[in-house]
């Protein structure tokens, strides 16, 4: 473990710089039109899904992005994968800026970077056999490869994810959810990627199957030296799988630190509340921190700290000024005025 940490310390595979994503709500002129105080005005509303997110993913690590629904974690994954265009900021992969590249230029990137989605029922084409589905990316990315080599590659990958290669002529509906997710992982692995973006890959699966798929992903990480950007809402999975964790709230980074540091010593009030809300198996008495109110909409973002409206430690500064992530003595980055000033309650 130690070696990997040292080795990766210098090597950044992915870097997000001040990444922004807005989704315009009112696209046409008539939608923008408002009638206010006897006058017609135009007004543009947008969902601010990702706000000024900067982070680095080191080679060989599993960076987990956690947060509740609507916090922008899936949007981050889609931005990195190039499925969405950022509204601002930069994405660098292996030292090259990729967010401004054309689809054609991104082709070679796609081979290095693969994505696994939440729902294996939706991510596999129901009209393609497993063989066809798995062969397609290999052929696409290696046009010179011979037929028999492609077949051999597919068989090898199927074997490695624990799906019998003799089942290759079957269709996705003939497989269970867990097997389908294995096949989706196999499809990502067929082109020998170095970086995997996994968006809630085990959330749709049952507990006993979750363990199977998570083990598979850990094995692939060790054997192939993969780097993961792992999007999830499940904190127990993060604790097990992640080397570092980013906590997002309303599209902004609250806290970024090593997994062990985050779970042993959470600092941001939101991280604390989030951790306390996870139902514990062995503990009888829940001591969960009750948050005031609910997550505000990302349409009209507050000017100050996005969490201020629900935070017990919020003061005037929190309401007016947005905190920036600041390094803590133990290496964690925390965006919170209360932590900075040491006036956190509880």
């Amino acid at each position: 473990m130690k070696d990997i940490v040292n080795e990766t310390a210098q090597d950044t595979i992915l870097e997000l710089k001040n990444l922004e994503k807005r989704f315009e709500l009112d696209k046409g002129f008539l939608e923008k039109l408002r009638f206010k105080n006897g006058k017609f005005t135009t007004e543009e509303r947008a969902v601010h899904a990702v706000n000024n997110v900067s982070l680095e993913v080191k080679r060989g690590e599993a960076l987990c992005v956690v947060g509740e629904s609507g916090c922008g974690k899936s949007t981050v994954a889609r931005l990195v994968a190039g499925l969405l265009d950022p509204s601002g900021g930069e994405i660098h992969y292996d030292g090259t800026r990729i967010d401004n590249k054309s689809r054609r230029e991104l082709m070679s990137m796609r081979k290095k970077m693969q994505m696994i989605f939440q729902n294996p029922y939706a991510s596999l084409n129901p009209r393609m056999t497993i063989q066809q589905a798995l062969e397609e990316p290999v052929r696409y990315h290696n046009p010179g490869m011979s037929r028999s080599d492609v077949r051999a590659k597919v068989a090898e990958v199927m074997q490695s994810v624990g799906v019998d290669p003799t089942w290759a002529s079957r269709y996705p509906h003939e497989f269970s959810g867990g097997q389908r997710q294995r096949i989706a992982i196999a499809r990502a692995l067929t082109v020998d990627p170095e970086f995997i973006i996994a968006d809630e890959p085990i959330s749709a699966l049952d507990v006993s199957i979750q363990a199977q798929v998570l083990n598979l992903m850990l094995e692939a990480k060790d054997e192939r030296g993969l780097t993961y950007l792992f999007i999830t809402h499940d904190l127990s999975v993060v604790q097990h799988f992640g080397t570092r964790v980013v906590v997002l709230y309303l599209g902004s980074v609250c806290e970024l630190s090593d997994t062990a540091t985050l779970f042993n010593n959470p600092k941001h009030p939101y991280t604390k509340a989030l951790l306390s809300a996870v139902p514990q198996l062995k503990d009888d008495k829940p001591n969960h921190i009750r948050l005031k109110g609910e997550i505000p909409t990302p349409i009209n973002l507050p000017t100050g700290c996005p969490f201020a409206s629900r935070c017990a430690s919020a003061d005037n500064r929190c309401l007016s000024e947005k905190p920036r992530p600041l390094a803590q003595p133990d290496g964690a980055m925390v965006a919170c005025h209360a932590v900075e000033e040491g006036r956190q309650t509880g």
């Binding site: 509740e68 049952d206 363990a211 998570l214 097990h240 139902p279 198996l281 829940p286 948050l291 997550i295």
Partner: protein, 330 residues
């Protein structure tokens, strides 16, 4: 006397060419004000149990045999009309997705008043007063204003609170909650669970909590049933089951959780999948995935025995149980 007593309940589904058994001789009791968890993976029969208790099974599903005794009355096989004074009134159900439960074209107030007036002779004003009171109980801010709002105007957590308020409107003796927080975020889930726990204990309402989340069961319930392939394979005090599970499946389920393994280590997975209802093996349904399975497990169905304070259906445990009995008599 127990509030609910289920004996050998068997539910079948008539398919085109065969009849499959979705619930296989389920028996359990629930005392007044008791909280019971039903856990298992998808397809284990948890939700079917809830539907069968509410008499909400629709074709092709039907109760094949067994009895459901609720407040001293046999309710299995009652007609819809006979069921009406019980359902919603004496026992209420909370479903997973509040957006599906609530009618999108009626205001919250209309839906609550309608429910009240269907069961009680009340004026609209009185029904609204009761509704406001119930909304206040589930910590809905400014409940008077909510009555005029439509479900889409409220957040997911707020909607589920309203569903809980509606379930409590007629002061039922039993609430069946089927994955009530699965669609919600973890901080909202914690709030809703705390609320449900508080309301059930203060009003002495019985709760059947159907979930796949062992953590939730552990915090919410006094007793737990573990289901697998339509059968109860382990039942007992929640604490006993979580701390010292006896059935290999329950053990596997708990051991498979990431928090049971050191970070970065291989998780202890259960091999294979739960069998589909059309292909439940003879003998113990868990035998094909069980590391302790012997020939007898594949041939004969295990009887339920009491062992280490829980009821468990497993040959292996049965064997241990008999050895213990022999030791005691010797």
């Amino acid at each position: 006397m127990s509030l609910l007593s289920v004996r050998d309940l068997t539910v079948k589904f008539a398919m085109r060419d065969q009849t499959v058994t979705a619930l296989d001789q389920i028996s359990f009791d629930l005392g007044k004000g008791e909280r019971l968890g039903i856990v298992g993976e998808s397809g284990a029969g948890k939700s079917i149990t809830g539907f069968a208790l509410m008499n909400l099974l629709s074709r092709p599903g039907f109760i094949d045999s067994g009895s459901i005794n609720f407040e001293g009355r046999e309710i299995a096989g009652l007609s819809d009309k006979e069921m009406r004074p019980i359902r919603g009134n004496r026992m209420a159900m909370i479903f997973q997705d509040p957006m599906v439960t609530l009618n999108p074209v009626l205001t919250i107030g209309q839906q609550m008043v309608e429910t009240l007036q269907a069961h009680r002779k009340l004026s609209k004003a009185d029904a609204e007063q009761i509704s406001i009171m119930k909304l206040r109980e589930v910590y809905i801010p400014s409940p008077e204003d909510r009555l005029g709002q439509y479900p889409h105007e409220l957040s997911g957590g707020m909607r589920q609170r309203i569903v809980i308020a509606m379930a409590l409107l007629l002061e039922p003796e039993l609430i069946i909650a089927d994955e009530p927080t699965t669609a919600l975020d973890v901080t909202i889930q914690a709030d809703i669970m705390e609320l449900l726990l508080e309301l059930c204990t203060s009003n002495m309402v019985g709760l059947i909590l159907i979930t796949h989340d062992l953590g939730v069961v552990s915090q919410m319930t006094e007793r737990t049933l573990v289901m697998y392939a339509g059968r109860i394979i382990e039942a007992g005090k929640t604490r006993e089951i979580i701390n010292d599970p006896q059935h290999p499946y329950t053990q596997g389920l708990i051991n498979a959780l990431p928090q049971q393994t050191l970070p970065g280590q291989r998780l202890k997975q259960i091999p294979g999948n739960m069998p589909g209802l059309t292909a439940i093996p003879d003998g113990c349904p868990f035998a094909p995935r069980c590391q302790y399975a012997i020939d007898n497990c594949r041939r004969t169905r295990p009887e339920t025995v009491s062992y280490a304070n829980v009821e468990v259906a497993c040959h292996e445990v049965n064997r241990l149980h008999n050895t213990v009995l022999e030791d005691q008599s010797a």
